[in-house]
């Protein structure tokens, strides 16, 4: 039986993928991309979990043997910032597309270009 965390992370990735495949509004596609990103981050964090251990901040009472893996957390810290940066870029592109074409429907934009 698969763990609830893995299940949730995979479901988030798949929900995001569904939105990217099916939705026609550009902003909904971007929301789908953000959901996918969240799923990937959740998957990374849950792979680093060791049951019964605490956060990797080695203060009083938490030694090196009572902490979870710090590497996935560092990776996710990087991934979150990169996700925010790409989302900001994509949103400004969406603003420009709306100003140029007057619509956010991807099919109509494709038709206008041709």
């Amino acid at each position: 039986m698969i763990s609830a965390y893995y299940f949730g992370a995979i479901s988030l990735v798949l929900i995001g993928l569904y939105a990217v495949l099916v939705k026609k509004n550009l902003l909904k596609i971007l929301v789908g991309l953000s959901i996918m990103e969240t799923g990937v981050n959740l998957l990374l964090i849950s792979i680093g979990y060791v049951s019964g251990r605490s956060a990797p901040i080695l203060s009083e009472g938490i030694g090196p043997n009572q902490a979870v893996d710090p590497i996935p957390q560092a990776l996710v810290l990087t991934a979150i910032v990169i996700g925010v940066a790409t989302t900001a870029m994509a949103l400004s592109a969406a603003i420009l597309i709306y100003e140029k074409y007057g619509t956010l429907n991807v099919e109509e934009i494709r038709r206008l270009r041709g």
Partner: protein, 233 residues
Amino acid sequence: MMKRLLAIGLILVIGYWLANGLAGVPFGEDRMLVGQYYLDNVKQQTGAINAVTAVVVNYRGFDTLGEVTVLFIASTGVGALLWRRKKERTAEVEGSVVLTTGTKLLVPFVILFGSYIFIHGHLTPGGGFPGGATIATAFLLLYMAFTAYEIPHKGFEKTEGVAGMSYVLVGLIGLAIGGYFLFDWIWQTWKIGTVGELLSGGFIPVIYMLIGIKVGTELSGIIDNMIKEGVSE
């Protein structure tokens, strides 16, 4: 309808495939290799007690440098995409009295808390990126509550550049003293401070202060670019 069914079928196949792959990775089991080394040695080698920030800034400093570069490129890219000759704020409705007064009261506290987060990056959860995002929230509050507010552009953009350059400079000092880029010269050669107090952690607090200032000004700049609209003369 056909398209949706097709998409759902494809997604179920991909989901089954991913779940099969993850079945070989049991949840909650200890499988640290390098992670255990970091946990065992983080106190002597970096002087920080927060292992995550030590990994992010010290052991894998190049990642953070790349990450800061990505954020800088995104901020410049947003500025370049949304560049117009005359850009102004076009909001018409001022926030209610409760909102504006509350914002005036809250902004200094939010900035203080953001600074607290990035100064204590080596002792408590957080670090440069969460602290910088908190500071940008303060400026977002100002933008939302007042129709005419604008960040002081000249100062902000210069601060951003200077903070980014200082990060590279700290790395280059390490290259001069220790022999490789981003060598932790403050902790490895001078051993300033005792582990667990504010004055420790080598160059982690220094770099996180620079990153916090950089991220705060960068995200505020992105907010500023997105919230303004082009005005025809």
